[in-house]
Amino acid sequence: MLVFPGDVVKDVKSVKGVTVLGPGVAPDGSTVRVTRAGRLHAKPPNTYWVEHDQKRYVPKRGDLVVGIVVKKSGDLLKIDIGGSEPASLSMLAFEGATKKQKPDLQVGDLVYGRLLNAHKEMEPELVCVDSYFKAGKLGPLSNEGFLVTVSLGLVWRLLEAENPILEAVGKAAPFEIAVGMNGRVWVNGRSVKDVLNVVRCLEVAERHDDRTVLDFCKQLK
Amino acid sequence: MSEQYKILHPVKYFRDHLAHKIRPDGREFGEYRPIVVNLGSISTADGSAIAKVGRTTVVCGIKAELCQPKAEAANEGFLIPNVELPPLCSSKFRPGPPTEQAQVATQLVADILKNSDCLDLKTLCIFPDKLAWCLYADLICLDLDGALIDACVVALMAALKSVTLPAVQYDPALDNKQVNVQERKALSVTNTPIATTFAMFDDKILIDPTVDEEDLSTSLVTIVVKEEELCFVHKPGGCVFTEEQLLKCVEESTKRATVIEEIIETAFKSL
C-alpha cells in the first residue's frame, strides 16, 4: 500500500502494549503517522515500516558498512560512511591488533565494518571485530577492488536471502563482493573485465527487476 | 528567581505566563505596545522620522537626488528603501555585509510600498526620460525588540509625509536645470499603509510581539492595511494557522491601523 507523509496508519496492532515502528513511521500522540512516501509494510504481529528507495544513508546500529578512511589521528581513524558525519574507528578494533601491532591503513583505504553505536545525538562508532574479537569477514578491503555506489533500495534487494542476482552474476564471472548497508559496494575479481561485468549487472539491477538482470547475466558469457 | 527561571526554561517560563492569560512584559494577548513618532529629527535629510514601537526604534532618513529615469519607465521617479540592522540594535548581528534578515526586511518594505501604491512614482518625474527625483529611504534600526517591519513602515510613512522637495526648472533644449531651494513642496502621499505583526505560540495569538516572543513563537504573520483595504498578508511559514485565526488577525490589524494613522497625523500637525 502506498502511503505519504502525514497519513495515519490504521488498525495498528500491538502485543502487550508494544508496537515496533521501523523507518518511515513515527508515533504522533495516540496515532501512528507516516513520515515518508513509499510502500507501507506490516509484519505480523506488530511491526510496521515504510520502504522508500533513498540515496542518503542514515547510520543504524548493527549495520555492516563499507567506509573510506578520511583522517588518521593517533589510534583513531575517521571513516566516511556516507552519513551526516564521519564514523570513528579505533586502530585496536581489528582482529589481533595491539598497541604495537596495528593494521596498516592509509587515508583513502577502504574498510568493511560493523556499526557498534549509531545514536542520532552522537558520532557513530565502527568496529572491525565481533564480540569475540574475531574479524570474520570484517576488516580492511584490498586496494585491488573497485568501489561503486548504489541506491539503498538495491542494497536491501541484494541482501535478501533468496535473491538470485548475485548467484547469477557469479556464474558469468567469479567475483568477491562486500555490500555495505550504506549503499557502497566493493567488488573484486580475477580480471578487470570480470569486475566491470559485475558493475554493469549492478547498474542494470538499479533500474530493472530481477528477471531482466538474470537475462542480462546470461548474455555476459 | 524569575530571571534564572527565564534563562533555564525559556519555553516553560513563557508558557506559564500565557496560562495565566498574561505575557511576560505584563501585556494582554491583544494589547500592543505604545507607539512614539517624531518627525523631522534629522535636519540634513529631505525628510526624516523616528518611530518607536515599544522598545523597537527605527530611524528613517530620506535623501532626494536628481537622476535620469529608467528607459522602460520614462515618466517615473524612484523610491528605494534600505533597511539596516547594525550590530548596535541586537547581539545577533555582527559588523559586515547586510544579514539575511536585513535583506528580507528591505525586500518586504519595498513590496509594501509597491503594493500599497502610497506614492505615485509619476509625481517624482520632472521631465520624461530626462530628469526625475530619486528618493533614498534609509531605515536604521537602533534597538531591535520585535515587530521590525511594523516600526519600519511607521517610520518610513512618517518620513515620506515630511519630505519637501525643492522646485526644479528644466530646459530640455539646453539640458539646463535650475533648482530653487527656497520654494519647497511636500510629496503627495495618497495613503498610509500600516503593518501589524502577530506571533503564534501554542494556538495563542499575540499581537505586536517582542523579540523574545518572536524567537519562541512557532510562526509569525505580518498584515498590512491601508484605508480598509489589505495590501500585504505575509506569513513566511512555521506552524499552521486556521482561516478563522488569520481572519481575526486581519480584523485586529485594521483596528490598530486607524490608531497609528492618527498618531502619524498628530505628529505631522505638530511639525
Binding site: 505519504f4 507523509p5 512516501a37 542518503r56 551526516s84 | 495590501c231 511559514g237 499552521v240 486556521t242
Partner: protein
C-alpha cells in the same frame, strides 16, 4: 476557470539525494535536496536539523528579492520536515529557476516538496503551494494574464496535507478582505488537486 497543468520528472540529478524538474503552466524550476548532511559548526542546532534554502535566479547572482524567496522556502520546509529526528545536521534545499511566468514562488515550493519526498527524508506532512491572480475586472484566475498590467493582485498560499491549514501566505498588490477570503477558499480547493498530483507522480516512479 482553467486548471493549472503541472508536470514533473523525479530523480533527474545524480548527485542530490532527491531532485525534481517541475513545471506548472509555463513556470519551470529544478529542485535538489541534500540531507541530512554534516552542518557547519556555527549553524548546527543541538536539538533539531538546520534547514538551508538556496534560490538561484535564471541569470546573474541571487539578489535581495531572492533572499525573500529563500526565507519563505526555508520556513515552509522547516515546518514540514521532521527536524527533531536529525539533530546537529543540515538539510539543504537548492532551487534553480528555469522559467518564470508569474507563479515562481509557488512552483519553487511545490518542487521543494517533491524533491523532499523523493529524498525520503522524514516529514511531518506534505505541503502544496497555489498562486492565484485577480484581474482588473475583479475575476479570480490561476493562470497569470498575458499582460502584466491586467493583474490587480496576486495571492500565494501554502497548505499542509494533514489539516489543510495555512502554512504560508504571500500577497502582491492591494485587495479587500472579501477578495482575500475568496482567493483563500479557491486556493484551498485547488491544493487538493496538487496533493493528488504529488501522489500520482510518486506512484508512477
Amino acid at each position: 476557470m482553467s486548471k493549472l497543468k503541472s508536470s514533473c520528472k523525479l530523480g533527474i540529478l545524480s548527485r542530490p539525494d532527491g531532485s525534481v524538474l517541475f513545471s506548472q503552466d509555463e513556470t519551470t524550476v529544478v529542485a535538489g535536496v541534500y540531507g541530512p548532511v554534516e552542518s557547519k559548526a556555527n549553524k548546527a542546532l543541538v536539538e533539531k536539523a538546520c534547514v538551508e534554502a538556496h534560490f538561484r535566479p535564471k541569470s546573474g547572482l541571487p539578489g535581495v528579492k531572492d533572499r525573500l524567496n529563500e526565507s519563505i522556502i526555508r520556513n515552509v520546509c522547516e515546518a514540514a520536515i521532521a527536524t527533531a529526528m536529525y539533530p546537529r545536521t543540515s538539510v539543504v534545499v537548492v532551487i534553480q529557476e528555469m522559467q518564470n511566468n508569474g507563479q515562481l514562488i509557488s512552483c519553487a515550493l511545490n518542487a521543494a516538496c517533491l524533491a523532499l519526498l523523493d529524498s525520503g527524508i522524514d516529514m511531518k506532512c506534505m505541503f502544496a503551494a497555489v498562486t492565484c491572480f485577480i484581474h482588473k475586472d475583479e475575476s479570480l484566475v490561476f493562470t497569470p494574464p498575458i499582460n502584466e498590467d491586467q493583474v490587480k493582485a496576486m495571492f500565494m498560499f501554502v497548505f499542509d496535507s494533514v489539516e489543510k491549514s495555512i502554512i504560508a501566505s504571500h500577497t502582491d498588490g492591494s485587495f479587500s478582505v472579501e477578495q482575500y477570503k475568496d482567493a483563500l477558499s479557491l486556493c484551498k480547493e485547488e491544493c487538493a488537486n496538487m496533493f493528488d498530483f504529488f501522489k500520482k507522480s510518486l506512484t508512477i516512479k
